[in-house]
Point group: C2
Chain length 424, copies 2
């Protein structure tokens, strides 16, 4: 029996049904009237004996796979005309939870497909303005001390459709799916550079991949000496071929393609090399015709993953709003959510541990009254920066660019429960 | 040119070449003489153009897989005679790094194979001493507020061969492979129990799986109300079939089989149910013929994964000793390592963040002189407990049991570099 108990003033934290983030954590279901909780069924005390309970199940396997019933939880992808491996694949965050992206679903951006690299033949050269040019094999790197970093990687072009005049009728995966997060483990680049001996005057590195496009970017030496890794492992196992096997550069918080995959060469230089990949692309064209170049760190951003387009709302009642927040400038300090298109906001709960340059999961309880709503989230990081509205981002920067879109995303919920992407 | 610089007294942290844990972190390679680092090659400044740099690589895939060159990084498994799915599979920790176990390599312990569960037909019943028996579908659970916990799961029988009189000639995977760690996300069991309404007198729960063995265990109510989850996600994606799809019980820190997979029923009871799985197995037989029963939390433990048997040492010189530490009683506070069979010890560096009931990666630099050594690690947790030697564990408990072995493991390194399991 559903009592449809209304929240009291003390429970209400912002307009249109947003409740206090600690509701579940502190007091549990009792605090809001247990029958306000969703779709549980008072039960007969017996359950059906299903077929899988009657016969032994399937045997062991050397390397496991998802359930056949999870077959829709996959990356979507598109390639440039005439190619099969130049393009992007996107992570289905609307169907995932937590903060780690499983390796099979990490997004990809390839410029000439996935090279089939024999790790025994692969070499990493460090040269240019160093005292001792050095060549590393995978085996020699494996003897160096390692560190781990849980870090997101986000393509600079993620969410770029929000620069368009009309809201794309799409959901989290096509709009925001060029983002993933993993535990990366490898050797600090600083350790290798100290061994090579950086010469005075060296201020940059050219990082080059071993794919057929020779994808390459210029990296400031300061970042290389700070928290950069030569990543060899991704969520415990060797980096996947689609993510740089046998080794990639990891520059925590920096735009995706600077984290050069299949890394084969680091050349220390005085200035940036002005490669094709940082001049023809990955610059932000402004209204006055000038471009922003070398925008490295991804700005603070967030997106609500549940509810989101493609997920069906059930009956009116209590829901959890859940989403992802991240910043290339450090740690997420707070995420606010709104159910009335930004008229009022309340703090979301953040899942600990909150780590720098990693995805942070946020959550807020919401009592949906079955009527229209516009859901938004707004992240802030420990640099003091707050994620801007779409309107403010475009007012400041124009809408001619295709990169670093980090404005607020709005999902409308209609009477009846359909969720759509809107501008609000 | 290798200078074979000897460490000074300030660098030496314990006998037989162990160096200070902060060596790399603070001062980098320069501090120990860069040429003491392993097997790098002074380089010509050109690299070979490999075949994979000349043609476009392979296309996108919906769900990615490891490199074909990583084909040896697999679980090993064995089934009971006459079965294909009753037994264990083991995680290859000697070939992994970091702390997260990728889902394809999470260890398994099945009592009747892996059931092929249709999530739409699956139900979770909460009944017994509750005010309102409830039945949950996967969809109804998905509307509840969720939380994540990075948690290890370890089979109570992990490492049991160390109870034997002679050291098993085996390595990390066969000896310690019934251990894995993942980010689990789901609904707090406390939330569901509050909704069902726990009746006075209920002190335990029976947790039952939907596999053909009906694997079931008794769980104290206090644990259920504390940090227990109904886990729906494992490292971001739905829990794998081999780990309980579509839902499992997660009792952080408790012995593996209490984390009941394919969870279908929770019955609140006054006392433990004394199921077959907690009376015929999972008890510890003592020398006097009595047994310890209901030893729930896994005690603090550690193991060195590199070097370890099966991994070949190269030339004498600098190595990193790396390993795993974990405790079901809380956070790891320190790990000490020894290179001389326990005669002297030094602190290992711990990778942050150190989380309760999760695997912690430890590391220590070691200058191997090419001669014999015996490597050991010893973990302590924030309950004040210190991992005992094998001799002390057996003196206290006897060697008739098969569960909860958490004594120190010793790896001998021979002149020439072969690594073996020994008792020391």
């Amino acid at each position: 029996m559903r009592r449809n108990k209304r929240p009291s003033g003390a429970e209400q934290a912002a307009g249109n049904g947003l409740l206090h983030r600690r509701l579940f954590l502190s007091a549990g279901a009792a605090a809001i009237g247990s029958s306000a909780l969703p779709e549980t069924t008072a039960a007969a005390e017996t359950l059906a004996i299903e077929p899988w309970m009657k016969t032994p199940g399937s045997p062991f396997t050397a390397y496991g796979q998802p359930s056949k019933y999870a077959g829709k939880i996959i990356r979507t992808f598109a390639s440039a005309p005439g190619t099969t491996g130049t393009g992007t694949s996107r992570t289905p965050h609307h169907l995932l939870e937590g903060t780690i992206t499983p390796n099979g679903l990490h997004f990809e951006r390839h410029h000439a497909g996935i090279p089939d690299i024999n790790p025994e033949a692969h070499r990493l050269l460090i040269h240019g303005r160093v005292k001792r040019p050095l060549v590393f094999t995978l085996d020699s790197l494996m003897r160096y001390p390692m560190e781990s970093r849980v870090a997101f990687i986000e393509c600079a072009g993620n969410s770029s459709v929000l620069y368009q005049k009309e809201p794309a009728q799409a959901g989290v995966q096509p709009i925001h799916g060029l983002l993933s997060c993993a535990e990366w483990t490898g050797v600090r680049l600083a350790t290798l550079l100290q061994e090579a001996g950086v010469e005075p005057g060296a201020q940059w590195l050219l990082a080059e991949g071993a794919d057929a496009s020779g994808m390459s970017r210029s990296v400031p030496l300061a970042k290389a000496m700070d928290d950069a890794l030569i990543a060899i492992y991704q969520n415990g196992e060797p980096v996947r071929p689609s993510n740089g096997y046998p080794m990639r550069l990891l520059l925590p918080g920096y735009e995706g393609n600077m984290n050069v995959k299949w890394l084969r060469r680091l050349k220390l230089t005085e200035g940036p090399t002005m490669t094709k990949d940082e001049t023809s692309k990955y610059t932000i064209l402004l209204n006055d015709g000038k471009s922003l170049q070398f925008c490295f760190a991804q700005e603070a951003k967030s997106v609500i993953t549940r509810p989101s387009p493609g997920l069906t709302m059930g009956a009116a009642g209590l829901y959890e709003i859940a989403g992802l927040a991240w910043s290339g400038y450090g740690k997420i300090t707070k995420v606010e959510v709104s159910a009335d298109g930004g008229a009022s906001w309340t703090l979301a709960a953040l899942q600990e541990p909150v780590l720098p340059n990693a995805i942070t999961r946020f959550r807020a309880p919401w009592r949906w009254d079955g009527g229209p709503a516009v859901l938004q989230s707004r992240a802030a990081d420990d640099s003091g920066y707050v994620q801007p509205s779409r309107a403010k981002l475009i007012a400041d920067r124009g809408a001619r660019g295709a990169y670093h879109f980090n404005g607020i995303t709005s999902w409308s919920v209609a009477q009846g429960g359909e969720v759509k992407h809107v501008y609000a």
